[in-house]
Amino acid sequence: MKLHYEVDGDNFLVAGEASASLKRTLKQLGIDSSIIRKISISMYEAEMNMVIHAYGGVIDVEISTDKVSIILKDQGPGIPDINLAMQEGYSTATHEIRELGFGAGMGLPNMKRYSDHLNVHSEVGVGTTVEITVYLT
């Protein structure tokens, strides 16, 4: 089944709603709680990144009996050096964002850690697409 979410950029008050909604759905599907945890954490990180860096975007989720694939697309500034961004602690967040407790440089590393497959395509000035896959079996 397919789910679609629109993520409002720059609104921290509703940031994380898409992840929360997906989490509810996954629980209803009876998916093992440790797997839900992996999906929730990686999607939450990706959703927050979208809000912090890319003025929002769209999320498409596809759930089948063997895996959950999440594709997050934004038209933000893009990531100039993906390898650098994958390093723990590397962050470009502004002081204001850090004050809010975000931007610790754990976003992409956490996504990698909690997903089974992570793909990041990015073009500076065009946008970023993040593909997260978590297997259910």
Binding site: K27, Q28, G30, S33, R37, T65, N110
Partner: protein, 438 residues
């Protein structure tokens, strides 16, 4: 034996939507103008009791006369109980009145709370999975089993102060050679969840509490006897530290467990548990989560406003502190000998799961999503379900029919009337034309 402590009085229920909206596990529906509690989902938090303006939701607790089935009748008053008597002279007077209404012995749960606080500290200090979530509020443990099964391993596997108090006092009587059948231990409860807890305990095979009495019921009997002369000298067992268990932080101050969160009120607790599940609170070591706003002071069976209660209790605590530290070390030490760890696993109760077979569950979920898109999404509650989303689930699960939604019914009637109108078109065309001209 009943399985839940929250029940409905049919004749008082007018079928409004107040309770369905406030249930944290979406456990209530209105069907045929009466509320219906879905047993599997109910966590006995008592929210619906508080919200019902017709008094149709009731907590089932034990009858006070039940105490006379026992020769030795021991009352376990929690600190929250003291807060119901803002005008009492002192705590001694409250405890003394318990003897007047028929109890033969009293053990202050507060002192067991002091011991549990110490055990909690030791346990968390040596733990590796963080944060730990307090297990002393049974409604929260039930919530975790149903809504947050992934957090079961975070639940602190330590029994409640109530249970520890009962274990201690019973072992004390047994040591004196008294027959177990003659000992009755009764907890005076601020909430229905505690009543369920003794019949279906969490983390242990069997509770040693024999009965749970409602604070309201005891209060009614007590107010008439408050001024009776003291017949028995009262020796306090709990120090001010134990009393603060009923305040929100569960008696743990910053000096005991650093980096802990004390959260109360169902919605706030759910918010925190979501965060734990998302892994954003792994820097926190311990979470004291209580279902009621104001903690146990705000229990559905408490009489006094929880904020007044907090003031009253603070007053008692200050008075106790002023009197100088109560030396209850010996008592605490003997209570400390009693084992407190859970001896039974807490099992997940995934009541929200649509089907055990994922393929079928996926199909149902697709149907739910499709139907939900059609619904007005205003969550009016007229269908008897708390939200449109929940209604869509009920319809797909065949627990409700689509026409129960007034908007869908209206649409259907409109469609039907158009069909009827078009049916008449070819038959009485002349007539119809005549009306149109007018």
């Amino acid at each position: 034996m009943y399985s839940h402590s929250v029940t409905l009085e049919q004749e008082k229920c007018i079928g409004c939507t107040d309770c369905i909206k406030r249930c944290p596990t979406e456990a209530i529906r209105v069907r045929g103008s009466k509320a219906k509690i879905i047993q599997d989902r109910c966590i006995d938090c008592g929210n619906c009791i508080r919200i019902c303006r017709n008094g149709a939701k009731r907590a089932v607790t034990d009858d006070i006369h039940m105490i006379y089935n026992y020769k030795y009748r021991i009352a376990l008053p929690a600190p929250s109980f003291y807060a119901q008597f803002p005008k009492a002279k002192n705590i001694e007077q409250i405890l003394n009145t318990l003897y007047h209404i028929g109890f033969t012995d009293v053990l202050e749960v507060g002192c067991a709370g002091e011991v549990i606080a110490k055990h909690t500290y030791d346990y968390v200090k040596n733990a590796t999975v963080f944060p730990f979530i307090s297990s002393s509020c049974p409604a929260i443990v039930r919530l975790i089993q149903r809504r947050f099964p992934s957090l079961i391993r975070h639940v602190l596997p330590i029994i409640s102060p109530m249970e520890l108090a009962a274990r201690y006092i019973k072992s004390n009587y047994l040591d004196q050679g008294i027959n177990e059948e003659e000992i009755g231990v009764f907890f005076i409860s601020p909430c229905p969840a505690k009543a369920t807890d003794i019949h279906r305990p969490k983390g242990l095979e069997k509770s040693l509490v024999d009965g749970v009495l409602s604070m309201q019921d005891i209060y009614k009997v007590m107010i008439h006897k408050m001024n009776t002369e003291t017949s028995k000298p009262i020796k306090r067992q709990s120090s001010y530290k134990g009393l603060s268990w009923a305040m929100r932080n569960g008696g743990l101050d910053e000096n005991t467990i650093k980096s802990h969160i004390a959260v109360d009120g169902m919605e706030s607790v759910i918010g925190i548990l979501e965060k734990v599940e998302d892994g954003t609170l792994s820097n926190i070591k311990y979470i004291e989560a209580l279902a009621c706003t104001g903690g146990c002071l705000g229990g559905a069976l408490a009489l006094e406003n929880p904020f007044v209660s907090r003031y009253t209790l603070k007053k008692w605590i200050e008075e106790d502190m002023a009197k100088g530290a109560l030396d209850n070390r010996e008592l605490l030490e003997s209570i400390g000998q009693i084992p407190v760890l859970f001896n039974k696993d807490i099992t997940p109760r995934p009541v929200f799961s649509l089907d055990n077979d994922m393929e079928r569950a996926l199909k149902m979920m697709e149907d739910i999503e499709m139907l939900y898109k059609e619904l007005p999404k205003i969550d009016c509650g007229s269908c008897g379900a708390p939200t449109c989303r929940c209604f869509a689930e009920d319809v797909v699960k065949q627990d409700a029919t689509i026409e129960e939604c007034v908007f869908m019914l209206r649409k259907k009637i409109k469609d039907l009337s158009q069909v009827m109108n078009s049916l008449t078109e070819p038959l009485v065309q002349g007539e119809n034309d005549k009306y149109r001209k007018e």
